[in-house]
C-alpha cells in the first residue's frame, strides 16, 4: 500500500492520473493559500505554480500554518513551497515572489495551466485573474473568507457567471462635508484623521486630494462657500507646519484643528439646527487639569482588558497625540534630508501612525460628542482588517480541491457554488449551502466578449497594419482603445503611422475594439520578432468573423433586456405614482441613505438571467445567493472576499455598513465600454 492508495480508492485510477498530469496555478499563498497548497500536494497534484507578492507578518501565524516566527518578512510563496515539500517531496512546486499583474504573466502563460485557483485577498487581483483566465480559456476556482464565512465557486467561459458579472461593493466613500464639517460616527472621525489630517501633516503637498472623500457635484452655493473656507483652513495649517520642531508646535497644531477651526464651524448656526454643535478643545486647559500626563499613561489599567482594547481618557489621548505628532514630524524631517519629496503614509502596523490616527480621531470624536474608540478598534477600521481564522480557510481550501477533482474529471457542470454560513444560535440545519453555478450576465463586458490573441512584431507593425487586420476580419470603421486611452478612431487617425511599440501596445496588452455596428472584440497582443512568425506578418489566435457573429447575437439579447427593463421601469413608475409620497420632511442624511437603498435595489435588479431557449426572466437571487435570505441569521459576504487584510479595494471592510453613508454616484451597474 503506497501513499496514494486512499486517493486511488476514492477518486479512481483514471482521475488520479489526470490529476497527476495536470499543471495548476495557485494565486496567493496567504490564509487560504497555505491550506490549499497542503491539500494539493496531499491530493495527487504533481505540478504546482504558486505566486504571491507578499511577505510573512506576525499576525499571519495564527492561521497560515506553513509559516513560523523565524519566517517573518520572508516571501510567502517561497516559504510555503519549502514547507509543503516536506509533506510530499515528490511534487514539483515553482514559487514566484511576484505580482500576478506583471507583464510576464501573459494570457499565453495562463494557457499553460489546466486550472487556476485564486486564494486572494483583494478585488483588483481577482478581477485581473478572472480576465486572464477568460482570455486564456482556463477554468478558475475562486474563493474567499471573512471570519466564519466563506465561499467557493467556479468561473468558466460561457458556462458560468464571471467575477465581473455582478458589480461588487466599491470602497466606501464619504461626502467631503461630512468628513470635514459634520461627522456623526466614529468612522467619519477616523477617515478625517487618516485621510485628511495625516496627509496634510506628513504627506506631499500635491496629493492632499483624497479619493475617499467625494465632492458633491451639484453643490449649492452654501456648500461651495464652505468648501472654499475649508480649503483656506488647510492652507493656514500648512503655514503652521513651518514651525515644526519648535517649542509649542504641538499646542499650535492642537489649538488650530481642535480649537480655532471648530469655533469657526460652531458659528455656522444653520449647520447645527438638526445636530449637536461641536465643542472646541483648548490644549492648555486640558494640561492644567491633568498635570503630569506622561506618567499617568504608564499606570496599569484597572480592568484586565488589554491596553489596546481600552478607550483612552482625554488626557491620555492628548498625550498620545502630542507624542506621536512630535515623533512623526521628526521622522519626516530626517527622511526629507535625503529626499525632499519624502512623505509618511498611514500603515496600520506602524505603531506611531496608528497612535496618531487613534488619538486624532478620538479628539475629534470628543469635540463632536461621538463615541470614542479603542486603538484596537481604530486599527481595524482604519486598516480595513477582516477577522480571519484557520478553520474557515481550511474548509474553503478543502472544498476547492473537491471542485478541482470535478473540473479535471470534465464534470464542470456538476460543480456548485458553496457558501459557508455561521450558526451562532444553533437553529440552522445547513452549514454548507450549495447551489448551481449562475449563468453569465449578458451585459458583462468582461466575459461576454471575444478574446483574440494577435501575434505580431510590435516594433515594425503600425496601427494602420492593426486596423487592416481587424477590418479584413470583418470590422468596419474600427475604434481602438487601450485601458481607456484612445489609440485610433475614424475621426482621430494621427497614430496610423506609428508602430504599436511606440504607443506602448506591447506584449500582454489588452486592446478594446469596437466597430461602426457596435460590435466589440478584445485583442491581446503577443509580441513576436518578425523572424519568429514563420514568414507571416501576423498570426491571429481566434476567428474575428466568428466573434462578430457572436457579438450580433449578444446585441439582440441586450436589446431584449433593455425593452424588458423599460417595461419594468414603467411599471415601477406607475406603482410609485399610485402610492403616496412617504417622505416629505426628511433630513439630508436620510435622503442619502434612501438613495443608497435605491441604488442597491437597482443593482440587484440589474442582473438578469436568461433561461435557455426561453423567455427572459428576472432572477430572484441575482446577488450570488445570500444564505441570509435563505434562512435568516448571520451576515454573509455576497462578494467573494478576503482573508485577513483588505487593501482598500476589497469587497468587505471591517466597518459596519449601517454606519456608512455611501455616495451613490460612485456605483455602476455593469461596466460597458462605449
Amino acid at each position: 500500500m503506497e501513499r496514494n492508495s486512499h486517493l486511488r480508492t476514492t477518486i479512481g485510477e483514471p482521475l488520479l492520473n489526470t490529476v497527476g498530469a495536470s499543471r495548476v496555478l495557485m494565486v496567493g499563498a496567504g490564509g487560504i493559500g497555505c491550506e490549499l497548497l497542503k491539500n494539493l500536494v496531499m491530493s495527487g497534484f504533481q505540478d504546482i505554480v504558486i505566486i504571491d507578492l507578499d511577505t510573512i507578518d506576525l499576525s499571519n501565524l495564527n492561521r497560515q500554518f506553513l509559516f513560523q516566527k523565524q519566517h517573518i518578512k520572508k516571501s510567502k510563496a517561497k516559504i510555503a513551497r519549502e514547507s509543503a515539500l516536506e509533506f510530499n517531496p515528490n511534487v514539483r512546486i515553482e514559487a514566484r515572489h511576484q505580482n500576478i499583474k506583471e507583464e510576464e504573466f501573459s494570457v499565453e502563460w495562463f494557457k499553460g495551466f489546466d486550472l487556476v485557483m485564486n486564494a486572494l485577498d483583494n478585488l483588483d487581483a481577482r478581477r485581473h485573474v478572472n480576465k486572464m483566465c477568460l482570455a486564456a480559456k482556463v477554468p478558475l476556482i475562486e474563493s474567499g473568507t471573512a471570519g466564519y464565512l466563506g465561499q467557493v465557486t467556479v468561473i468558466s467561459g460561457d458556462l458560468t457567471e464571471c467575477f465581473d458579472c455582478l458589480s461588487k461593493e466599491t470602497p466606501k466613500t464619504f461626502p467631503v462635508c461630512t468628513i470635514r464639517s459634520t461627522p456623526s460616527t466614529p468612522i467619519h472621525c477616523i477617515v478625517w484623521a487618516k485621510s485628511y489630517l495625516f496627509g496634510l501633516l506628513f504627506g506631499n503637498a500635491e496629493d492632499d486630494d483624497d479619493e475617499v472623500m467625494v465632492k458633491e457635484d451639484n453643490a449649492d452655493d452654501e456648500t461651495a462657500k464652505e468648501l472654499e473656507t475649508l480649503k483656506a483652513e488647510s492652507q493656514a495649517l500648512k503655514t503652521i507646519l513651518a514651525q515644526a520642531g519648535q517649542e509649542g508646535f504641538t499646542e499650535l497644531v492642537f489649538n488650530k484643528v481642535f480649537g480655532t477651526d471648530i469655533e469657526r464651524l460652531r458659528k455656522m448656526e444653520d449647520m447645527w439646527k438638526t445636530r449637536a454643535a461641536p465643542t472646541p478643545l483648548n490644549y492648555n486647559q486640558i494640561m492644567d487639569i491633568t498635570g503630569h500626563l506622561s506618567q499617568q499613561l504608564n499606570v496599569a489599567p484597572e480592568s484586565t482588558t488589554l491596553k489596546d482594547q481600552r478607550v483612552w481618557t482625554l488626557p491620555e489621548t492628548v498625550t498620545v497625540f502630542g507624542d506621536s505628532l512630535v515623533r512623526l514630524t521628526e521622522r519626516l524631517k530626517e527622511l526629507r534630508e535625503s529626499d525632499p519629496e519624502a512623505s509618511i503614509s498611514f500603515d496600520k502596523d506602524d505603531a506611531e501612525t496608528l497612535d496618531f490616527v487613534t488619538a486624532t480621531a478620538n479628539l475629534r470624536a470628543h469635540v463632536y460628542g461621538i463615541e470614542e474608540k479603542s486603538r484596537f478598534d481604530v486599527k481595524a477600521m482604519a486598516g480595513n482588517i477582516i477577522p480571519a481564522i484557520a478553520t474557515t480557510n481550511a474548509i474553503v481550501a478543502g472544498l476547492m480541491v473537491m471542485l478541482a477533482f470535478k473540473i479535471l474529471n470534465k464534470r464542470i457542470a456538476d460543480c456548485k457554488t458553496t457558501y459557508l454560513v455561521y450558526d451562532s444560535r444553533g437553529d440552522r440545519d445547513q452549514l454548507l449551502i450549495s447551489e448551481k453555478l449562475a449563468k453569465p450576465n449578458p451585459r458583462c463586458y468582461i466575459c461576454r466578449n471575444a478574446y483574440i490573441g494577435l501575434k505580431i512584431d510590435t516594433t515594425t507593425s503600425t496601427v494602420q497594419d492593426f486596423v487592416d487586420i481587424m477590418e479584413d476580419g470583418g470590422m468596419t470603421d474600427v475604434e481602438i482603445q487601450e485601458n481607456g486611452r484612445v489609440i485610433h478612431d475614424p475621426d482621430f487617425d494621427d497614430n496610423l503611422g506609428k508602430t504599436l511599440a511606440e504607443l506602448q501596445l506591447t506584449n500582454g496588452k489588452f486592446v478594446d475594439l469596437v466597430d461602426v455596428d457596435d460590435r466589440k472584440v478584445i485583442v491581446y497582443i503577443i509580441h513576436r520578432d518578425s523572424a519568429a512568425l514563420d514568414g507571416e506578418k501576423f498570426i491571429l489566435e481566434g476567428d474575428v468573423h466568428k466573434a462578430l457573429v457572436q457579438q450580433d447575437k449578444l446585441r439582440k439579447t441586450l436589446e431584449q433586456l433593455k425593452a424588458a427593463d423599460a417595461a419594468e421601469e414603467a411599471l415601477e413608475a406607475a406603482r410609485k405614482a399610485a402610492s403616496a409620497p412617504a417622505h416629505k420632511h426628511v433630513e439630508d442624511s436620510d435622503i442619502v441613505m434612501l438613495e443608497e437603498e435605491e441604488t442597491r435595489k437597482r443593482k440587484r435588479d440589474g442582473s438578469l438571467e436568461i433561461l435557455e431557449n426561453g423567455p427572459l426572466k428576472k432572477s430572484s437571487l441575482t446577488e450570488p445567493a445570500h444564505p441570509s435570505e435563505l434562512g435568516g441569521g448571520s451576515q454573509q459576504p455576497h462578494a467573494v472576499s478576503n482573508d485577513g487584510v483588505g487593501d482598500g479595494t476589497s469587497a468587505e471592510q471591517a466597518v459596519d455598513v449601517d454606519e456608512v453613508v455611501m455616495v451613490d454616484g460612485e456605483e455602476v451597474d455593469v461596466v460597458i465600454l462605449e
Binding site: M1, E2, R3, N4, S5, H6, L7, T9, T10, K38, N39, M42, S43, L58, S59, L61, N62, R63, F65, Q68, E86, F87, P89, Y148, T305, L306, D308, Q309, F376, A380, I385, P387, A388, I389, A390, T391, T392, N393, A394, I395, A397, G398, L399, M400, V401, M402, F405, K416, D423, S424, R425, G426, D427, D429, Q430, L431, L432, S434, G644, D656
Partner: protein, 331 residues
C-alpha cells in the same frame, strides 16, 4: 464546560492572535488558552484538527495513538515525515505539531486506547475520538458524561468523500451576542441538553414520509451507523472495498437497522451502501480538511462557551457539497 479562569492574555498573544480575537473576543481566547484537549487516533482527520486547534492557541493537546506509521499514512497525515516510517504515529506527528505554535503544550501518549481507564478521559476539557470503534466511542462518551470536569465528547471520521461529527456535551451553557437595531449588543444565555451516544443509537423515527424523515436524519448518517455495526461484528475491521460478501452483509445490516429505527428500507439505497463499502477505508485530504475544519471550529466554540456547538451530528457529503446538522434524540 467548567474552565478555570486564570491569567490574562499577554500583549504578545494579542499580537499573534489579533485576527481571531477580532472575531471571537479576548474572553473566548482566554478560555481556549486554559483548556486541555485529547485527540485519540492519529489519522488525516486528526492531523487537521490538531493543526487547527493548536494554531488557535489552546492550553494543551494530548495526542494518543499506539500504532506505527505505514506508507499509506503519508497520503493524508501531513504532520508526519518520510523518515518517521515505522515509528509511533502520535510521537511523529507531535514533533511537527509543536512547531505550529510553540505556546501550546503538545503531549504524546503511545498507549492503546483500550487500556485507558475512565479517569484518564475525565481529566480533559474535551475528548475527541477519531476513527475509533463504536464500542470505544460509547465507553468513552459515558466516561465523559460521568466526569466531574464535565468533559465534552466528540467522535468523528471520514469515509472516502463523506464524513461525520458526533457531539455530546451532556448539558452545555453558552452565550450568544446579538446586535440590536440601535447597535447595542445584547448577550443571551442559552442552554442545550445532549443525549448520550448509546441513547442516540436507539433512536426510533416512527416510519414518517421520506420528506419528513429527511429533515430529521440523512441517509448517509444511517448508512454510517450501519458501518459501525459491521465493524462491531467484524473485530473492528471495515468492509473490504471489493468484497461482495462484505457488501451483502452490509445490506443485511442496513435492513435490520432501518427496521429497528422505524425507517422505510428504501430511505438508504443500495448505491449509498456500495459507496461506503468501496471507499469507506479511505481518507482523502480535502475531505479531512472540510470535516476537520468544522470539528476544530466546534471544539473551539464549546471551549469558548460562545455560540451554539453542533447538536448533535454533522454530516458532510463531498459529492453533494453539503454539510448538514441533525439533532438525533432517543425519544
Amino acid at each position: 464546560m467548567a474552565l478555570p479562569q486564570q491569567h490574562t492574555i499577554s500583549e504578545d498573544e494579542a499580537a499573534l492572535y489579533d485576527r481571531q480575537i477580532r472575531l471571537w473576543g479576548a474572553e473566548a481566547q482566554l478560555r481556549m488558552r486554559n483548556a486541555s484537549i485529547l485527540i485519540a487516533g492519529m489519522r488525516g482527520l486528526s492531523n487537521e484538527v490538531c493543526k487547527n486547534i493548536i494554531l488557535a492557541g489552546v492550553g494543551s493537546i494530548t495526542i494518543l495513538d499506539h500504532e506505527n506509521i505505514t506508507e499509506q499514512d503519508f497520503g493524508s497525515q501531513f504532520l508526519i515525515r518520510g523518515a518517521a516510517l515505522g515509528t509511533n504515529r502520535a510521537a511523529a506527528a507531535a514533533e511537527k505539531a509543536r512547531l505550529l505554535n510553540p505556546r501550546v503544550n503538545v503531549i504524546v501518549d503511545q498507549e492503546d486506547i483500550v487500556k485507558k481507564d475512565d479517569a484518564f478521559f475525565q481529566q480533559f476539557n474535551i475528548v475527541c475520538l477519531v476513527g475509533c470503534t463504536i464500542d470505544q466511542m460509547i465507553r468513552v462518551d459515558d466516561a465523559c458524561r460521568a466526569s466531574e470536569k464535565r468533559t465534552g465528547f466528540y467522535a468523528a471520521n471520514v469515509y472516502g468523500f463523506n464524513g461525520y461529527i458526533f457531539c455530546d456535551l451532556k448539558d452545555h451553557h453558552y452565550r450568544v451576542e446579538r446586535q440590536e437595531e440601535n447597535a447595542a449588543t445584547v448577550i443571551i444565555q442559552k442552554h442545550h441538553t445532549y443525549d448520550s451516544l448509546s441513547d442516540v443509537l436507539l433512536a426510533r423515527f416512527g416510519f414518517p414520509t421520506p420528506r419528513k424523515l429527511r429533515r430529521k436524519v440523512s441517509p448517509l448518517l444511517l448508512a454510517i451507523q450501519v458501518l459501525w455495526q459491521f465493524q462491531q461484528q467484524h473485530g473492528g475491521r471495515l468492509p473490504q472495498s471489493s468484497s461482495q460478501e462484505d457488501l451483502a452483509t452490509m445490506l443485511q445490516l442496513r435492513d435490520t437497522k432501518l427496521k429497528d429505527a422505524q425507517v422505510d428500507p428504501a430511505f438508504v439505497d443500495d448505491s449509498l451502501i456500495q459507496v461506503l463499502v468501496s471507499t469507506g477505508s479511505a481518507e482523502i485530504m480535502p475531505v479531512c480538511a472540510v470535516v476537520g475544519g468544522y470539528l476544530a471550529q466546534d471544539i473551539l466554540k464549546t471551549l469558548s462557551a460562545k455560540d451554539a456547538p453542533i447538536l448533535n451530528h454533522y454530516i458532510y457529503s463531498g459529492m453533494e457539497a453539503t454539510g448538514v446538522v441533525h439533532h438525533i434524540k432517543k425519544e
